[in-house]
Symmetry: C2
Subunit: 155 residues, 2 copies
């Protein structure tokens, strides 16, 4: 992982206490942005590069899963993680299997484990991005190679 | 993820009951190999391509962390996951921070969450491998390009 780049995490929760304790726990390690609803979260995504999204499932209006499905339509890059109580498990596993969520964490979350989950999620983000860049570069160099070979055939 | 390739998981635990229940739970989804000690696990790694290693921490002789440190010396590719009780947490977090472990799971493990952890670990394995292949290919094509450009300068 590139240590010099700070990981940007968007945390979405309707409870102010949770938002504050999340920010207090992780602001030294990550660039933490917060939102009190899915709608607010979508606005933040439009204006910022976010690597990892963590959202509570139980929120009035838009649930966490519904929010992450909306996210996926417009922003496919951030790694999507759901925070959930034990009672929501079936809906959550369905969402994972459909590809809407990368991972889910049972509440209450543990600070050390959360840090590891965020760093691992960022590694996935980073590797996917590097793969795309390498493929683009390969296509470009292949194009140059073909051009030169064609020139050689003509001359 | 390439669905056609089955994910190979090595599970290490000194308790036969745990080995049997792990195998029963995951043999339909993954290619499961089991070992009753770190020493046995290392032998299996010499003879098989393993994508994900899951090991219990508390074992007589070689602990899970010690086993994974040995694994890392010889086999850097498999994704290393530790199963741990709540009392081992400090040693485990130290091992994660030193890069010896990719992730840890508290016991008792949940079948659905374990499946997701294994699939996500395999995505990391796969992306790292694809990255290496793309870099090798890029170096090769760049070499061909340089060769042709040099020829052009000479002629």
């Amino acid at each position: 992982m590139d240590i010099s780049e700070k990981i940007s995490v968007l945390y979405v929760d309707d409870e102010l206490n949770n938002l504050n304790s999340f920010k207090a726990a992780f602001r030294r390690d990550f660039n933490v942005l917060i939102a009190t609803s899915g709608q607010e979260g979508l606005k933040i995504l439009e204006e910022n590069t976010i690597h990892v999204i963590i959202t509570d499932q139980r929120m009035p209006g838009m649930t966490g899963v519904d929010f992450l499905i909306e996210v996926l339509k417009k922003f496919s890059d951030p790694i999507r993680i759901l925070l959930t109580g034990y009672t929501d498990v079936n809906a959550v596993i369905d969402a994972v299997n459909k590809g809407h969520i990368y991972y889910y964490i049972n509440k209450p979350w543990d600070e050390d484990q959360m840090k590891i989950v965020i760093r691992n999620a960022y590694e996935i983000f980073n590797l996917r991005e590097k793969n795309r860049e390498l493929i683009d570069k390969l296509i470009e160099v292949n194009g140059q190679l073909e051009f030169l070979l064609r020139q050689k055939l003509i001359s």
